[in-house]
Amino acid sequence: MSDVSALSHEYQSSAKLAEELNDAIIAIKKARVHHRSGLNQEQRRRLADTLGAVRSRLANDEKAPGEVVPQEVVERLAGRHGSKMAYFLEDLSAAAALLSGATAPIDEKVVHLLDEICDVADQTASAMFRRLRRR
């Protein structure tokens, strides 16, 4: 009824997305530094689904696959990429395709892309958290 419930929902969705991406990035970085295995097949597939869902929302597809991406995350990413959106969509498709493969090494470009979306989800979650407290 009040704005609190809607903000609470949006906070939870964006915080969940930020955590999912952040945990994956930490796992990938640890695998590189310590020369050990990183994400398993299921984790890679989930990550690919998430990127697919982000791509789909940015491209305004009529049917979006995967999880629900918070609208404010979509808007912030759209604001960042503006007229170069087509390139960003291409990068998302390529990263999702690479992650869908079971063994292909995750290169720096993919980590950078994950980092960027994670940053945006983190900023959105923090903004929602502050709005919930009227700060």
Binding site: D3, S8, E10, A18, E67, V68, E75
Partner: protein, 369 residues
């Protein structure tokens, strides 16, 4: 470690230690015990996570710094949310909160709410609201003694269901919205609309896919579960609080559009008479206020989309196993419908009846204990 995060993580570990201890030694009534246990477990897990980060040798590496900072922020927010929400509510859990929590629990069982019911505390300064992660509903102080707003509890319960079942409930609704606006934008281009007008369609699409769709889904679920009482409660809330029934804000769709969606769900779950009756009263209210529907209203909230959303939402709620309202004596939803009927028919004597009914409910809960 010697990194900026180190002292911050120690501070956070101390906060979680405090929360863990407080929640661990707290004694609460049986209605709130499940919630206390759950939040205590969350605090314990979070404390363990902070300890693990403090012990992680990678935390001081520059290439990990931002990621561990993100983790720190989420955990910090969690500590604050526990402190300000459930810990605050549970440490002051009064008889009124206990009563409302039992009301919520009973309502949940009746419409087959699929999870552990949230606790409810009468300490809100923001009307009814849900703190989703904390499984907590807050309502204004006086609500334990007034029935007419209780249908809004179902709207708040819907927030938990929608947030935890986004793929089942929200995504099909979002697909309908996306599909509608994709077609509308194509059509606008074909008809040579100005870029500004097409931009307005994009703006509406963005608002719909943001907070609006969540609010519509919650209204539709509350109507599905209570039928008339939520429709009445919505009408009363619009009369009390609306500045412009056709006005739109980012977080909430226009009151008139929400009412239309509620009417669409009523068409699906009740007989036509009930829907007509509410619609007549709504028109009366709009005329009394003197509000005029703006030209863009039907573009932002097309009737066909609201109808499709109601149909899809009903399908999703049924797929989740939720039970639509059916008149059954002793059910909270039935009590609320009876309350609204009596209130409409005889507002002068309603307060006495309400006092008696709430007294009976309290006695029943006491006898069940």
């Amino acid at each position: 470690m010697g990194h900026v995060l180190e002292p911050l993580l120690h501070d956070l570990a101390e906060r979680f230690r405090f929360l863990e201890e407080e929640l661990g030694r707290m004694s609460v009534p049986p209605e709130a015990e499940g919630s206390r246990k759950r939040i205590h477990q969350i605090a314990t897990r979070a404390k363990a996570r902070v300890d693990a980060i403090l012990a992680d040798p990678d935390v001081s590496r520059p290439d990990f710094a931002k990621n561990f900072y993100h983790t720190y922020k989420r955990l910090s927010e969690l500590a604050q949310a526990i402190d300000e929400g459930p810990l605050f509510a549970l440490s002051r859990f009064r008889a009124e909160d206990r009563f409302l929590t039992r009301v919520v629990g009973k309502a949940c069982r009746e419409f087959r709410y699929p999870e552990e019911p949230p606790i409810c505390a009468a300490m809100s300064s923001q009307y009814y609201c849900a703190m989703i992660e904390m499984n907590l509903i807050l309502v204004p102080h006086g609500e334990a003694t007034h029935l007419l707003g209780w249908a809004d509890l179902y709207h708040e319960l819907a927030h938990f269901i929608v947030a935890r079942n986004e793929v089942t409930v929200l995504r099909p609704l979002m697909d309908l919205v996306s599909s509608h606006f994709a077609k509308a934008i194509d059509e606008a281009r074909r008809l040579g609309w100005s870029e500004n007008a097409i931009g307005e369609l994009r703006l509406f699409r963005g608002l719909w896919l943001g907070d609006w769709i969540v609010e519509f889904a919650c209204d539709l679920l509350a109507t599905f579960a209570t039928r008339l009482s939520f429709a009445w409660s919505n009408l009363r809330l619009c009369a009390r609080m609306s500045t412009d029934v056709f006005g739109t804000v980012k977080s909430h769709p226009a009151d008139a559009a929400r009412t239309q969606a509620i009417l669409e769900m009523l068409v699906l779950v009740s007989d036509g008479k009930e829907q007509e009756f509410i619609e007549d009263r709504w028109r009366e209210l709009v005329n009394t206020i003197g509000a005029v529907e703006p030209q863009s209203f039907q573009i932002a909230y097309p009737k066909s989309l609201l109808r499709d959303l109601a149909i899809q939402a009903k399908h999703s709620f049924e797929a989740l196993g939720l039970k639509p309202y059916t008149s059954k004596e002793d059910h909270i939803a039935d009590l609320l419908n009876e309350a609204w009927k009596l209130f409409q028919a005889n507002p002068e004597s309603y307060a006495d009846w309400e006092r008696t009914k709430i007294g009976e409910l309290r006695n029943k809960f006491a006898a069940d204990t």
